[in-house]
């Protein structure tokens, strides 16, 4: 029992520890001098040296890692090298909600698109609708998210003028305005995920619809829609849940790109700007936070198998 629960937890801790070590070491190898990055060129060596001392850059690597990790565990991720020289934790705290909103909205929209499309496609297996949906989703999967975003901007913003772009309204300043600004970026994120989900779910639904228990449900007089939703969907969603776990990684990626494309103040913009400026404490902190959220959500998704399949539930009890 202890082995069953302890081992995964220990592995999780080991993985996160490795990630933090990797992130720290990687960014300590930044070519060029952080002090130069902060102060700019043309100062006296003494000025650079003072800053290096202040940043702790003269200490041995391992003790710097220890200090950093200790800080991380207390919620202190260091200070931005580039002005405004605020705490990294504060920068992340203001950027994270934007990204989370976009990602969650994108995921919800993707599922809202994928579920009916997959059911429709599977119900008309081999028919015109099925083949059209298959072709469109295959095409979407071959579009990088920034291309999808550019096409959406060209069509919906520039041509039809439906949606605003390049602005962000915080939910506190009006939920309606917030959602209308978040809609297009979230749709960009959603389209590719929806394509993936639709294909996976459709294939599993087709398999499930050939099961005897579907025929049995028909023979009990259940309507096709009810059979789809109440009999076929749940046994067909195991692969979808697996893919959901994998897709979170892609989701983070498209969120970053979309934030850059639409100039939204989220984690992606934070990390890209920091990367371009060599502002390594911000990159370190942001990557670590993203990794922790990512690992946590994957673990959470693994747990939902039990909710979907009573057979595995018994195995755990």
């Amino acid at each position: 029992m202890a082995r069953r629960f302890l081992l995964p937890v220990l592995e999780l801790v080991a993985v996160l520890f490795l990630v933090s070590l990797g992130v720290f070491l990687l960014l300590s190898l930044v070519p060029g001098d952080p002090a130069v990055a902060v102060l700019g060129e043309g100062r006296t060596p003494a000025e650079y040296d003072a800053l290096r001392e202040q940043l702790g850059l003269n200490d041995p690597l391992l003790s710097r890692y220890g200090d950093w990790l200790g800080g991380v565990l207390h919620g202190d991720l260091g200070t931005s090298l580039v002005p405004p020289q605020t705490a990294v934790a504060d920068r992340i705290a203001s950027a994270l909600p934007v990204s989370l909103e976009l990602a969650v909205l994108g995921l919800v929209m993707a599922l809202a698109l994928a579920l009916p499309l997959a059911m429709w496609s599977a119900y008309h297996q081999g028919g015109r609708a099925d083949r059209a949906i298959s072709a469109i989703t295959f095409g979407l999967l071959s579009m990088p998210s920034f291309l999808i975003g550019l096409v959406l901007i060209a069509v919906l913003v520039n041509s039809l003028g439906i949606f605003p772009r390049n602005e962000w309204v915080r939910p506190g300043d009006g939920l309606g305005a917030n959602l209308s600004h978040a809609f297009l970026p979230a749709l960009t994120i959603a389209l590719m995920e929806a394509a993936m989900f639709t294909r996976i779910l459709r294939n599993d639904l087709v398999t499930t619809l050939h099961e005897d228990f579907i025929l049995a449900a028909r023979a009990r007089g259940m309507s096709p829609l009810r059979i789809m939703v109440s009999d076929a969907l749940r046994p067909s969603s195991f692969s979808l849940v697996t893919v959901l776990g994998l897709s979170i990684g892609r989701l983070v990626g498209s969120t970053v790109i979309v934030e850059y494309l639409f100039a939204l103040p989220g984690m992606g913009k934070l990390v890209i700007d920091a990367a371009n400026q060599g502002n390594y404490p911000v990159v370190q902190g942001a990557v670590l936070v993203i990794a922790v959220i990512y690992v946590a959500s994957n673990t959470l998704i693994d747990r939902t198998y039990g909710l979907l399949d009573p057979r595995t539930r018994r195995a755990r009890a």
């Binding site: 291309l147 970053v256 990390v271 990794a291």
Partner: protein
């Protein structure tokens, strides 16, 4: 139809009918698509829809013609994709030898017109020029060279390293396996693009280091696949028998396990190419990858930002279509490969 029911037979048209209707559809589709691409009468949205409809009609027509000629249904989309791959790979390989315009010499570009509109075949700038007066066609071809070279190098590194590590880890098991598992989980614990950005902060933006960074993305999934296949093979009777007969471990790995692992790994490698082409393009789009004026499809698309796309759509359209068609074609190829060589993975 919820019940498992047989597939309907399509009505068989005669060959002349197929050829005639196919040719008509093809010609009509191309005409409509060509008109939609050139016209300025319609709104962008309608133009795009008409264009797509025209292309689809042309493809359907081509399919009919092919069916008429071959006497059986032909997967024209697949063959069109393969034709594109051959063309773009050939152009990328031979780029320095082709009579192309100025791709990346921004000093020489000063004497050329900037944002010249696409002139069509025979013109000095068939696909126009960008804001530095650089030739868009030349940049698209050299961009293909960079994008595909980077992706291929990364896949080569990733497949070799990941495949070997996975095989050894699955064959030896025990502590080695556990450590490899934790390491690859640690790599997987950072979302791919974030890992690339973090690496991009540190590495200089050269082809070699971008390829190295991208290869890190492929290694964990390669390790997993090779490991899983190795374990299946290693538990089969003939391997157990060979072990019992005292065959050496290295010999077993090379003679028995490797041949069974190669095909699934290779088919994943094909899929990975398209993933990496996208990843490289994303990185360049974000300004972290290969830097201007050296062209890649990603940084070419990025040139369209800030109002440029609205006035000069070809700046985005040309690299966008190249990128889409290449990824699409590699996906088609990967899907076929996985269906044949790794049926378990061919879920998509």
């Amino acid at each position: 139809m919820l019940a498992p029911e047989p597939i309907a037979v399509r009505r068989r048209d005669t060959r002349p009918v197929l050829l005639l209707t196919g040719a008509l559809l093809l010609a009509l589709g191309l005409a409509v698509a060509g008109w939609a691409a050139g016209t300025t009468v319609l709104v962008t949205l309608v133009r795009m829809l008409v264009l797509v409809a025209g292309i689809l009609a042309a493809i359907a027509g081509l399919g009919r013609v092919a069916r008429g000629v071959r006497g059986k249904p032909v997967d024209v989309v697949f063959w069109l994709g393969m034709t594109w791959l051959v063309l773009i790979l050939g152009a990328a390989a031979l780029a320095p030898l082709l009579p192309l315009g100025n791709a990346d010499d921004s000093v020489a570009g000063l004497t050329s017109p900037i944002f010249a509109a696409p002139g069509g075949i025979g013109a000095e700038h068939p696909l126009g020029t960008n804001n530095y007066g650089l030739d868009v066609l030349a940049r698209a071809v050299f961009g293909a060279r960079t994008s595909i070279l980077v992706a291929l190098m990364a896949v080569l590194i990733g497949t070799t390293v990941g495949g070997l590590v996975g095989m050894v880890s699955g064959f030896v098991r025990g502590t080695t396996d556990r450590i490899v598992g934790i390491l690859s989980n640690a790599l997987l614990a950072v979302p791919p693009l974030i890992l690339l950005i973090a690496l991009g902060t540190v590495l200089d933006p050269s082809i070699r280091s971008i390829a190295f960074a991208l290869s890190l993305l492929t290694i964990p999934s390669m390790v997993r696949l090779a490991r899983a296949n190795t374990i299946t093979v290693a538990e089969r009777e003939f391997v157990l028998a060979a072990r019992a007969l005292g065959a050496g471990r290295v010999r077993l790995l090379l003679r028995e396990v490797l041949p069974n692992v190669v095909l699934p790994v290779l088919s994943l490698a094909v899929v990975m190419i398209s993933v990496l082409v996208v990843a490289e393009a994303s990185l360049s789009f974000l300004g972290i990858g290969i830097e201007q004026p050296a062209p890649t499809w990603g940084n070419m698309i990025a040139e369209g930002q800030g109002g440029v796309m609205e006035d000069h759509p070809y700046i985005v359209v040309v690299p966008g279509i190249c990128l889409f068609l290449t990824v699409f074609s590699f996906n088609l190829l990967g899907e076929k490969a996985q269906k044949r060589w790794d049926p378990r993975a061919a879920k998509l």
